[in-house]
């Protein structure tokens, strides 16, 4: 097995890329894609430790996270479609109707 630190570095790199995407992009669809990258980084960590310890529970929690990502993508993209129908924009800094 490759040393566990390499898996942790890969996961941290994907997490950093995802955070940069969430913070700097203006397009909401790409922000949601970056959230998917972050959730994937978490999954890599969980499964690497599951392999190291020899217990299957990390994989079960990764399964829960995949389910959560699917739910989040469905609801988030539904919100994007509803918002686009009302305001004709997909840019995050123009979504300010709740700002007072």
């Amino acid at each position: 097995m490759v040393p566990i630190g390499h898996y942790l570095f890969l996961s941290a790199a994907l997490l950093g890329i995802g955070i940069v995407g969430v913070v700097t992009r203006r397009n909401v669809i790409i922000i949601l894609m970056s959230v998917e990258l972050i959730l994937n980084a978490v999954n890599i960590n969980l499964i690497a430790f599951s392999r190291l310890v020899g217990s299957v529970e990390g994989q079960i929690f990764a399964l829960f996270i995949i389910t959560d990502a699917a739910a989040e993508a469905a609801v988030g993209l539904g919100i994007i479609i509803a918002f686009f129908r009302n305001r004709e924009t997909v840019l995050a800094d123009e979504m300010d109707i709740l700002k007072w």
């Binding site: 490759v2 950093g16 990258l37 299957v56 994989q59 389910t67 739910a71 609801v75």
Partner: protein
């Protein structure tokens, strides 16, 4: 040997396509590189002997979520957004966050170098009938979280239908 070669190939693929997801101007290209990154992650799961999650990752992420993204990109007309500024002026915040995160990871690995690095991995046979073990844990030890997750999926399904209805 083969194990580490496959790991480094898939890791490079995942990181490079992750960077491309964040930096491309066209959203369709981002969606395609997202599919590549998710497939590379599935390969990494395979090197970790998580065969069931490898298949689930390909079916749910690449086959389900990415297709959902592509459909939404088709529904949302993006020709206008393509010619606007793609990044907002928050690169300083992003830089700060990633530097703090990187420092945390390096510090944690340096502190645990004696224990974590030298810890021998468990024998592969301990995870051997992978699908059976996952199923046993899912339907025996983690029965209640499993049911809660199914309720979450139901809520998400209803929420997605309600959100994309014509008149709310």
């Amino acid at each position: 040997m083969l194990d580490s070669v496959t790991f480094y190939i898939f890791a490079t693929l995942a990181v490079v396509s992750g960077i491309l997801v964040v930096t491309r101007r066209n959203v369709v290209h981002s969606a395609i590189f997202l599919a590549t990154a998710l497939l590379a992650t599935a390969g990494i799961f395979l090197t970790l002997h998580a065969e069931f999650l490898f298949i689930v990752q390909i079916i749910v992420y690449t086959g389900g979520i990415t297709v959902l993204y592509v459909f939404v990109i088709m529904l949302v007309n993006l020709d206008v957004a393509l010619h606007q500024v793609q990044f907002n002026r928050q690169w300083l915040v992003a830089l700060l966050l990633t530097v703090v995160l990187g420092a945390q990871v390096v510090a944690a690995l340096a502190l645990s170098r004696g224990t974590l690095y030298n810890m021998p991995p468990a024998p592969v046979t301990q995870l051997e009938p992978n699908t059976e073990q996952v199923a046993w844990g899912l339907f025996h030890t983690y029965m209640l979280p499993f049911e809660v997750v199914s309720v979450l999926l139901l809520v998400a399904m209803i929420g997605a239908v309600v959100m994309s209805k014509k008149r709310v």
